[in-house]
Structures are given as C-alpha cells and as structure tokens.
C-alpha cells in the first residue's frame, strides 16, 4: 500500500500564502507570506503556540479555508479554490469529529463510500484499517461507546482508509492523557512509516514535535520562524522565540570581542572569552552586546575557580533522571544547569561557590 513511500519530490508547495480574516482595521492576519515545501513521505510538523496560525495553515491545505493570496500546489497541481472533497488529502480532526450516528466500521468506510467504490472494496479496506489500528473488536460499536484513545484510532483509520496522498493531523493527541499520548505518538510514527503517506502534524507540544518529526516548522504570529530537522531546531535556534519555545534555554547577554570565520568570540562575566556559533543571517560587530543561548545540559558544574565561569548556587530541583541547578553568575545573570543524576550524588548547597564549564561550540549567537 505504500505506493508513495519511495517516491521522492515535493508533496505540497506553498508559496507566499497569506490569510486575512475580517476587513480594514478589524483585519486579523492569520498567515503572512508563508513559504513552505513539504516533501513526499515525510513526517512534517507545524509547531507553535495557540493562535500562531498553524491550524489555519492546515485548514488551507485541507481546503476548508482559502488563502487570501499566494499559491498552493499538491503534487504539482494548483489546488487554490478546489473544494475539500476534491483534494486527495484527509484530516484527523482535533476532537476526532467521528459521525456519532454511524458504527466504527461505517465511519471508516465513509470516505470510500463517497468515492463510489464497490461494496467489496469498502469492506476489505475497512477490515484492513481496523486491523491496522487494532480496533477489530470494536467494528460494530458507536463512537460514544469508545474511550478517547479508541476514538483517536478510529479517526486515524477513517482518514487513512481512502489512502490519501497527505494526512493532516490537527493536534490529534491533545485530548489524551499523558500515558496514552506517549503510546499514540509511537503508534502514529509506526503508521506513517508503514503507510508511507506524507503526514502534516500540527501541535503546540514541543516534545511531540521533536520526537516524531522528520522536519518541523516553528510558527509564531502567522509566520514561519525556522524550518529544519528537530536536531537543527534544538541545537541551532535562530531567534529568541524558537530557542525559548523549544526546550529549556539559558539566555546570556554578552559582548563580542572578535568575529572570525562564522564564529564570534564572546566575553563571559569574569573576563574569559569563548567561541560561539552565529545564527544564519546575523552579523555581530566587535564591541556589540548580543544575545546568546546555551542549553542547560551543555554546561557542567566544576570546582570553584576552574571552568569558564564562576557562579553562586541559588537552589536545585530534583526531576528524577536529572536535577536542575539554578545559579547566579558574577554579573547577576541567571543560569540553569541540568545534571544527570547518579546514586549518592549530593546536590550543591545553597550559596555555595562553584565553577561552570561550557561545552565547546554550544553557545549560539541569536538573531536580534
């Protein structure tokens, strides 16, 4: 069934798409000049806080909203103005939107029935889908008789049954409890690999985005801020919003002492200089104060007087696998270190003087 899996190329091409709701002074710019290419067979995530435009973008791809301007192609075909029922794209809705008056099997077979496929094919595909999402035993139930996780599986099966080119998922896991959500994350990833269908996944959960995606786009206020692999986004955020939204980050305000070969020498509190990567499109000047980021796990506590920085311990929070140690630097900027826990390790006392070693190349200078 994975007829699209091995094909390479672009599934969805979005060029300069804007969406404005309302008119004049009351106009709301939900999407501003979005440029995005989603590749065939990839698990692509749109990540951002609520109201950032990610759901609107998904609805534009599905055909429920029409872009105010810009181009949208699905597999090379211009689909602007095309009705949702004519697009080979299916959606898994946030609250599942299962038809309450139909059984699980009828829900799953609905798309194929509307496409006018013969009864035998509908039945065969329905049972195949029931098997795929492990819901064979529930075929004759009504949605109201299912748990949230089961409804979620039926919604997936229903959207997959017509074998769409692209599956759009609008925060499908947000209504599930934590344990079920983890299970469904694995399940979704498995389904995507098995079917080879291009998945476009919308979420506000950064962890979900990092663990599941091949590539992701971070959105805010109707714009795409950064596009890349989870690894790129986490380790090389281009701007403050991205660094802040994804994972935990230390922001430091530092002065540039030299710029050379795509790297900047930054002066740390206490006088030592350290080399930092520079985000794409940023041109720091010597003497300028810039914003730099480093992840809490990319610094280590060392003995006082050694390392790159010295700091005072404000306190620590135990998280099980690791401990977050909150520090104050010499120039009173805050800093958090994440330390992997081992048995019998003592937390540093409040008020203790410690040294701090930064992982080489971990610091990154941000845009703006």
């Amino acid at each position: 069934m994975a007829d699209g899996a091995q094909q390479s190329g672009n599934e969805i091409e979005i060029k300069a798409v804007s969406k404005v709701f309302g008119l004049g002074a009351a106009a709301f710019h939900a999407l501003t000049e979005i440029d995005l290419t989603i590749r065939t067979g990839e698990f692509f995530t749109l990540l951002g806080p609520s109201g950032c435009g990610k759901t609107t973008l998904l609805r534009v791809i599905a055909g429920f909203e029409h872009p105010s301007s810009g181009q949208l192609r699905i597999k090379g075909q211009d689909v602007v103005g095309q009705a949702p029922n004519r697009r080979l794209v299916n959606t898994v809705f946030q609250n599942y939107a299962l038809f309450p008056h139909m059984t699980v099997a009828q829900n799953i077979g609905f798309g194929l029935k509307m496409l006018g496929r013969p009864r035998s094919e509908i039945d065969a595909t329905t049972s195949e889908m029931l098997h795929l999402v492990k819901m064979e035993a529930m075929a004759m139930r009504k949605p109201a008789e299912l748990s949230g996780g089961q409804q979620q599986r039926v919604a997936l099966a229903r959207a997959l049954a017509p074998r769409p080119r692209v599956l759009l998922l609008d925060e499908p896991l947000s209504a599930l409890d934590l344990k079920l959500r983890k299970e469904m994350q694995t399940e979704l990833k498995r389904l995507q690999v098995e079917t080879g269908i291009t998945f476009v996944f919308v979420t506000h959960d950064q962890e979900e985005a990092l663990t599941m995606s091949d590539r992701l786009a971070v959105m805010n206020k109707g714009r795409i801020l950064q596009l890349g692999s989870p690894h790129d986004i986490y380790h090389a955020p281009k701007e403050r919003f991205v660094a802040d939204f994804i994972g935990e980050t230390n922001f430091l305000s530092l002065t540039v002492s030299a710029v050379a070969g795509g790297c900047a020498e930054l002066v740390l509190p206490g006088g030592r200089t350290v080399s930092a990567r520079i985000a794409e499109g940023v041109l720091p000047a010597k003497g300028e104060t810039v914003s730099a980021v480093i992840r809490p796990e990319q610094a280590q506590l060392v003995e006082a007087g050694t390392g790159d920085l010295s700091a005072t311990v404000d306190g620590s929070v135990f998280f099980g696998t690791d401990t977050h140690i909150h520090l104050t630097l010499e120039d009173s900027q805050s800093f958090t270190v994440r330390r992997q826990n081992t048995v019998g390790q003592a937390d540093p006392a409040r008020g203790a003087r410690v040294g701090l070693a930064l992982m080489p190349g971990a610091l990154q200078v941000l845009r703006g």
Partner: protein, 300 residues
C-alpha cells in the same frame, strides 16, 4: 427514616397529581361517558345509555328504511381528508422549515436571536385574524387572483377559497414555526466539524446533507413533526374559515355536533375517535423513526 421521607414525597406531590388527574382525565372521562348517552332535545345529553352515537360515527341508516345500514361515507371522507391534509401539512412544514432553520443556525450567534424572534412575530396576531388575512389573499377578488388576471396569466379568477389547497396553505403557514423551532434547536447542537469531516472524506454537498446533517437533526424533525401533525389533526379555525363546508376537517365535524347538530353524544364519540387516531399515529410514527435510529445507543 428512609421510608418516611419517601412517604413525605408522595404527600408533597399529591396536589400536583390531583390537579393533573382532574384536569387531564376528568374531561376525557366526561367525553367518554357522554359518547354512550342519548342526545338531549335542546343540546346536552339525556342520561339514557345508548350506543347510537358510536354506531353513527361509522354507519348511517336509510331515512325511509332504518334497517338498511350503509357506511357513513361523509364521516369517513372527513377522517381521510383530516389525515391526508395533516400529513401534507407536516411534509410542507418540514420542507420549508429545514432551510429556514438552517439559515438561522448558520448566522453569527448574536444575530440568531433576532431571526428566532422574527419567527415568533406571527404569534402576536390572533390566529383568526391571520387566517382572514390569507382569505383576503386567495379569495376570488383577492390579491393573488387580481394580480394574476392583471398580468394576463389567467382570464378569470381561479377558485382557491374553500378547497383543500386553501386549508393546506393556511395550516402550513400557521404551523410552520412549530417545525422551525425544534429543527433550529437540533441544528444549534450540530457539530459543524462533522460537516467538515464529511467534505474532507469526499462527500459532495448533497451527500453531506443526506449522510451527515439529516441523520443528526432527525430528533428535531421528529419533535417538529409531532408538534405540527397533532394540532393539524385537531385544527378548527383554519379549515372553518378557509375550507368552509366543502373542505371540512374532524375539528369542524365535532364542532358541528355540539352546535347546530345538537348531538353531543355523536360529537363526543367523534372526539374519542380523533383521540385514538392521534395516539395510533404517534405510536406508528415513533415506531418507524426510532427503529432506524435504534442502534444509536447500541446494545446498552
């Protein structure tokens, strides 16, 4: 202790129960008893047991030869017309009520109340006045005929008054809001994401209407149909004004027995027949409509 509080509950609700029993069953009992008595000379009843009224509901005796009994074709025609007109009224109200309710339900929330308010405006005017207004429209020298003659579409006025059509028009107009309101209530609860889900799964507009919207607003149709059908069967004013003697319905036939006919037992028997028709029609209707949705709650 528990039993005591239980007993107290019964004592507390007893006034309401007494009122209910007296108000609902009392009149019904009187009608039932009257139907097996003899007519009084000046109206009213004479307290002699008689099944003559029930006999005359369905049969009639030859004037010259009382032994010759035939079916009472006039009564049966009225029963038949009553059922048929009520059925048609319900269909027309459903056909007009659905788009109306849909229109209201798809307006922005703050404007829906205005439209609902407008739906109720006709109720401000007395039913009789509204019915006479329809008469003004459709009588031979009324608005419709005058305009049609003036336009040259017809040479002579068409007889619209005192026909089944006139009664149907009047009843559909009068009862339409009773269909619109429950339909609106059902659509208001409709999850429009299900409509989107339908479109997303390749259904055309018509298919979404048929497979998604109609099944989901069915409770509204059922409630609306009952609210329209029952008062239609018992309609009195509309067929009286617009149907006259030529298009009489059961309500008028019953009214006639208590008035000019001075045959209260026959009127009472006819009223009992009307009641039975309503109950049978309701049971029949609920049977077919709930059988189709029977799976709604599955095997619970």
């Amino acid at each position: 202790m528990k039993r005591d509080s239980h007993r107290w509950k019964w004592i507390l609700v007893s006034p309401a129960l007494v009122v209910l029993i007296l108000a609902a069953s009392g009149p019904l009992l009187i009608v039932a008893v009257y139907s097996v008595l003899s007519p009084g000379n000046m109206g009213g009843v004479a307290w002699d047991f008689s099944t003559e009224a029930w006999f005359r509901v369905f049969f009639k005796r030859d004037i010259f030869d009382p032994e010759t009994v035939t079916l009472n074709a006039d009564h049966l025609a009225v029963f038949q017309r009553t059922l048929w007109l009520s059925f048609q009224t319900t269909l027309i109200c459903a056909a007009l009520g659905f788009p109306t309710a849909w229109f209201i339900a798809t307006r922005p929330v703050n404007r829906r109340m205005v439209w609902l308010f407008l739906i109720t405006v006709p109720f401000w005017t007395n039913l009789l006045i509204r019915t006479f207004a329809i008469q003004e429209l459709i009588r031979n020298t009324g608005t419709v005929n005058t305009v049609l003659v003036w336009l040259g579409l017809i040479r002579e006025p068409v007889d619209l008054m005192y026909t089944d059509f006139a009664v149907l028009l009047g009843m559909s107009y009068v009862f339409l809001p009773l269909m619109v309101l429950p339909l609106y209530a059902a659509m208001d609860k409709l999850d429009f994401r299900l409509v989107e889900a339908g479109y997303d799964l390749y259904a055309s507009r018509l298919q979404v209407l048929w497979h998604v919207i109609l099944p989901l607003v069915k409770p509204g149709f059922i409630a609306g149909s009952i609210l329209v059908f029952i008062p239609s069967i018992g309609a009195y004013v509309t067929p009286r004004v617009l149907g006259g003697g030529r298009s009489m319905m059961m309500g008028n036939l019953i009214g006639l027995q208590f008035g000019q006919g001075r045959n209260w037992p026959l009127g009472s028997a006819l009223a009992m027949v009307l009641l039975v028709i309503v109950v049978v029609a309701l049971i029949f209707y609920l049977r077919i409509t709930t059988r189709e949705t029977g799976g709604r709650d599955g095997r619970h």
